[in-house]
C-alpha cells in the first residue's frame, strides 16, 4: 500500500492577544510579555494542511487539492482572515489564542471534512512568524 502525503498552504492575517482572564494584568504581562498588549497585535499566519491517502488511478491524484483548498477556506480561513482571534472566531471561544490552541482547533475544524474527501488528515502546521511554528498530527501519534 503506497501511502502518499499531499500538502496545501493557505494564509490568513489576524489580530490576537495572549491573556488569561483568571490572572491580573501584572501576571499576564509577566507570563506573556509584549504578547499581552491590551490593544492587540497581529500576524500573517501560514497554514500547511497535510492529508494522507493512496493515488487514484483515474486521476493520478491522492485528492483534488482544489477541494482541500475549498474546505480549508470555508471552515478555517474565512473564520480567521482579517479577524480578531480572541473576539471574532466561534471555534476559538473560551480558549487562549495561542498558536498551539489555534492549531488544535484547526485540526478539529478539518478532520471530518477531510475524511469526507476519502483521505485522512495527517498534520496541521501553523507558522506564526518566520521563526516560530506549531505542528499537530492527531492524538494517535
Amino acid at each position: 500500500m503506497k501511502n502518499i502525503f499531499v500538502t496545501r498552504r493557505e494564509r490568513f492575517n489576524a489580530a490576537h492577544q495572549m491573556w488569561n482572564p483568571k490572572w491580573d494584568e501584572e501576571t499576564n504581562k509577566e507570563v506573556f510579555g509584549k504578547c499581552a498588549n491590551k490593544n492587540w497585535h497581529g500576524h500573517n499566519y501560514q497554514l500547511f494542511v497535510t492529508v494522507k491517502g493512496i493515488v487514484n488511478e483515474e486521476t493520478g491524484y491522492c485528492v483534488d487539492l482544489k477541494k482541500v483548498s475549498k474546505i480549508i477556506n470555508r471552515y478555517v480561513i474565512d473564520e480567521l482572515d482579517h479577524k480578531n482571534i480572541n473576539l471574532d472566531v466561534p471555534f476559538m471561544k473560551g480558549k487562549l489564542a495561542s498558536t498551539e490552541n489555534l492549531t488544535l482547533s484547526i485540526w478539529e475544524q478539518l478532520e471530518n471534512k477531510i475524511k469526507d474527501l476519502g483521505v485522512q488528515l495527517h498534520s496541521v502546521r501553523l507558522h506564526e512568524t518566520e521563526n516560530n511554528y506549531v505542528e499537530y498530527f492527531g492524538e494517535q501519534k
Copy 2:
C-alpha cells in the same frame, strides 16, 4: 564619487484597521472591505531601510549597520512591535493606518537620525504581506 547603498531588514508584528472616522460604517466597509473589521486584524511587517553614502577607508563600511539597526529599533520597531497601529503609536496619531502612511511616517522617524550617522536615508520599503509592499524615496525623487 562611489555612492553605495546599504540595506537593513527589521521586522515587527502589529494589529491595525483601515477606518476613516469621517465616514459611516457602510462606507468604510465599502471602501476598505474586510480591512475595516472592527476588532482589528494584523500582520508580520517586514521593513527594509536603505541608506546611501561612500565607503569609509578605515572601516570598509559605508555605515555601521549595528548603529542603523539600533536607530530603527529605537525609533520605529519599539514603537510598532506587538502594538496596535491605530491606538498605540504616537507617530501615527490622526493618520489612517495604511502601509503608505506607515511608510511615510517611518521615513520621518528615521531621516534625521540616519543623517546623524553621516549617511543619507535613501528609501524605506515596507512589506505588509508576501504580495503587497510600499516604497518611499523622499520628496526629491
Copy 3:
C-alpha cells in the same frame, strides 16, 4: 510632492519554448540550448507590478491594491495562467516567448488600465526562476 511606490505580486504557471521560426532546428538548439525543447517546458512565473502616485487623504491609499490586482488578473494572469505562452496568448502572438518580451507585453497590457486608476505604472518585474528576472520601467527611463 510625496511620490510613493506600491507593488503587487501575482503568479502564473505557464509552458513556453524559445524558438525562432526563421532558423533551422540546429541554430535554435545552438542559440537557445535546452530552452528550445520541441515539446515545451514551463515555469512558475512571479510578477511584481509597481505603481507610482501620491497618498489619497481620504483612504490613506496611493491606490486600492484590490483594484490593481483585479486589473492584473483580468489583463495578464487570466491570459497566461495554465497556458502555453507561444500558442495560447493573443498579446504574445508573433513574438519570441522570452521573459524580456513577456515583460514588455505585460507593460503594454497594463499601462493604460493602471492610468485609469489615477496612478502611473512604474515598473513590471517578472521572475522566471529563483535565479533569473527581468524588469522594465517604460521608455522614458
Copy 4:
C-alpha cells in the same frame, strides 16, 4: 544507533498537462479544470530527497551529498528538466502526469541508486508551487 537524515534540494522546469486519455474532453475539463489545457502549462519544480544513515567516523558525513546530487541529476533532473512530463520522460510513460505519480516515479528511479551509496532513501518531497507539495516515504511507512 544514531540514525541521521540528510536532505538535498534539486530543481527542474517542466511542462505538463493533466489528461486521462480514457475520458472525453468534457470530463477531463470537469475533473482537471485549467490543468487540462491542451497546449500544456508548466512549473518550476523543487525536489527534496532525504536519505537516512549513520555518520561515517572518517568523513563526518552520513553520505557525500555531491554523490547524492550526481545521482539525482543523472536519473531524475536530466530526464525532467526543460522537458514535457507527458511526452518526453521514459519513466512517466503511460502514467498521468500528476505530482503524486511524479513523486512515486522519482522514488523508483532513486531507491536502488541511493542504496548503492550505503544509505537508505527516506523520503521524496516534490513542490509544484509555493502552495502545493507531495511527499512519499516508501511502502513500509
Copy 5:
C-alpha cells in the same frame, strides 16, 4: 493525549573546513573537494529546534518559546555565531566539522536543558545552504 510539536528557528554565521587530520592533504582534497580549503570557508546556518509536549491549560503554550530561544542562544548560538567551528567551539573539539556532527552535538547541548522546561527535544534540523540540510531525532527513532 494530544502531543503537539513546537519549533523555533535561530541562526548563526560561522567558518569551517572539512579536514581529517589522519589523512594527507591529497586525500583530504580528494574526499572533501573545495570544502577542504586550508583557509576555511563559511556559511549562514539556520537551526530549527522542535520540542514535543502537551498544551498547558493556564498559558495555552506547549512551552514558552522565549525560554526555548534563550536556551538555544546560550548553549548553541553563542558558542557558534561568528566563530570557527573547527577551532573555537568546545563542544566540537576533536570532531570533524560536518553538518552531521554539528547537528548531533547541538542535540547533546540541548537535550537536558529542554527537558528542564518540561518538554521533550524532538528534532534538530540544521540547514547549511538552501540546498542541504541535516536532521536528527534522537537515538530511539
Copy 6:
C-alpha cells in the same frame, strides 16, 4: 528606446573577518565587534547582477543569461566560493573584507566583461545575511 534590465543570481560560501591591520586588537574588537573574530567566520553570500540593454529581435533576449552566468562564475564565484575573502582572493588583496568593498570589487571584475556581451552593467547587489545587503550602481548614479 526600450531599455530593459535583466538580473542573474549566483551564490558563494566564504569565510572572512573584519580587521584593520593599522589598529590594535582592542580597537578592532571595539569597531567590528564579533566580526573581528581572529579565527574567522563566514556566510552564504547571494549575488544579484543586473545588466541593462535593449531586446535583440532575433533572440528575444536582452542578453544570453547563460553567458552572463559564465562570466560571473569565472571572474567572481570561482574566486570567492569556498575561499577566505581576506586571504585567498587576489582582487580583494589589501582591502578590508566588508560587503561594501566586496560589492565594489565585484563591479570592477564584471564591468568590462559584461560590456563585451553588448550590454551595460547596471548594478551589483550582494546579500551577506537575510537582514543585510549592499548595492552599487557605478559612479555616475
